[in-house]
């Protein structure tokens, strides 16, 4: 095939194209993925029964604040990772800030408490809390991750591992937001360690999927 012919073909009957559409697609994927994660939580484990009491609503707010700050820092970076040419002009470090902040607060809380209380603070309400947290967040994050990958395939990510990892973090944040409603463990160290670990695992899965599913 002659390249000049290809250029004629590509520019024939050219349609206008705007760059705003992709951002909307990404938001749509986050909203539907988040709604699906929430629905999945209601359909399976369900919200914790004593959610309405004031003390627990405060803890719910803390958990949601962490999840939403992960989503809030991740989403703009996710959009940038699908735009060629911004790779070197982007500071990717803010993606870690919510995790650093949570770990710093957790360390402060531990240092302010007696060492005998540490075990309970780190492992949560009962012996299976930590495993339940990991499994539930990753389970709830699965649909958001699939929705995000579907959306990202319409973009043009040039660093597929990085893009997949950020998608995993945002999906993990959405899964954590859904899990916050059924989480029985009300301590900052528990949130920092187990919510953080679950989201990091989602990032690892995203980084593995990226090079396979996001090629274009």
């Amino acid at each position: 095939m002659n390249t000049d012919r290809l250029i004629d073909v590509l520019s024939a009957n050219l349609e206008p194209a705007g760059h705003e559409q992709f951002g909307k697609t990404l938001i749509l994927a986050m909203v539907t993925g988040g709604a699906a994660a929430f629905g999945l939580m209601l359909a399976t484990v369900g919200p914790r029964p004593d959610l309405h009491s004031t003390a627990h609503l405060e803890w719910l707010a803390v958990k949601l604040l962490f999840a939403l700050s992960v989503i809030g820092t991740g989403a703009p970076l996710l959009l940038r990772s699908t735009r060629p040419g911004l790779e070197n002009a982007t500071n990717w470090a803010p993606i870690f800030f919510p995790f650093f902040a949570a770990i710093a607060m957790a360390l402060a809380m531990l240092l302010l408490s007696r060492p005998q209380a540490w075990r309970g603070m780190l492992l949560g309400a009962n012996t299976v809390s930590s495993a339940r947290c990991l499994v539930c967040i990753m389970f709830f994050a699965a649909i958001p991750l699939a929705a995000l990958i579907w959306a990202l395939r319409k973009g043009a990510p040039t660093r597929l591992k990085l893009c997949g990892a950020i998608a995993g973090i945002v999906a993990g944040g959405l899964g954590a937001a859904a899990y916050a409603l059924c989480c029985m463990s009300d301590t900052i160290p528990f949130i920092a360690v187990w919510y953080g670990a679950a989201i990091v695992l989602c990032a690892v899965i995203g980084a593995q999927l990226g090079p396979r599913l996001l090629r274009w």
């Binding site: 095939m1 009957n13 349609e15 194209a17 060629p84 043009a156």
Partner: protein, 189 residues
């Protein structure tokens, strides 16, 4: 050199912005200019890994289709040269991955290196458009045939194919993406 890069950037960006607004003439001119730069870019890199100009032309065509189908990822408030360079480089690295070529010492390059050279000496690529077209869905083939090869308007094509106008637009877009995929698959096997 710096001066030249700036003038390239200005001209290409103006053409791209007009193209995104639907100006086919500006877009055609843009693709012609980019073809020269991309050809020089790929030939230099292919020479380094011992591949010839025909493979470079194949990848150039794949890159042009990718630029076209992903043109909505360019934000006009951002510089244009880094955008086009990132796509050119991504397509080259993707080619290396697919063909399993080893090229460990890919030199660090600046985005301006892309527009520094231009090569207008075309060679026929090994790809046959009609043969590639036979391997995409019949809907997409009909839409591309009408809109892109025969130059019918979208509404004329819609009437002929018995599809809605938006279905025609979607079929053309998907068809071009599928064509690019067929090109890269054809190379991997």
């Amino acid at each position: 050199m710096e001066e030249l890069a700036h003038s390239h950037e200005r001209e290409l960006r103006t053409l791209m912005t007009a193209g995104l607004d639907g100006d086919a003439g500006a877009y055609h001119a843009l693709l012609e200019r980019l073809t020269g730069h991309l050809r020089a870019y790929y030939r230099r890199r292919f020479a380094l890994i011992g591949h010839g100009p025909t493979e470079a032309e194949d990848l150039l065509q794949e890159a042009l289709i990718a630029i076209h189908t992903h043109r909505n990822t360019y934000d006009p408030s951002q510089p244009f040269t880094p955008w086009i360079h990132a796509i050119a480089r991504y397509k080259f690295l993707d080619y290396l991955r697919k063909t399993k070529s080893s090229f460990k010492d890919m030199p660090i390059e600046s985005a301006q290196e892309l527009t520094a050279r231009s090569d207008m000496a075309a060679v026929e690529s090994g790809l046959d458009l009609q043969r590639l077209m036979s391997r995409i869905s019949s809907k997409a083939r009909a839409a591309i045939q009408c809109v892109k090869l025969e130059g019918l308007s979208v509404s004329e094509a819609a009437a002929r194919c018995g599809m809605s106008e938006s279905a025609i637009k979607v079929a053309v877009h998907r068809g071009l993406k599928a064509l690019a995929l067929r090109i890269s698959e054809g190379r991997a096997t």
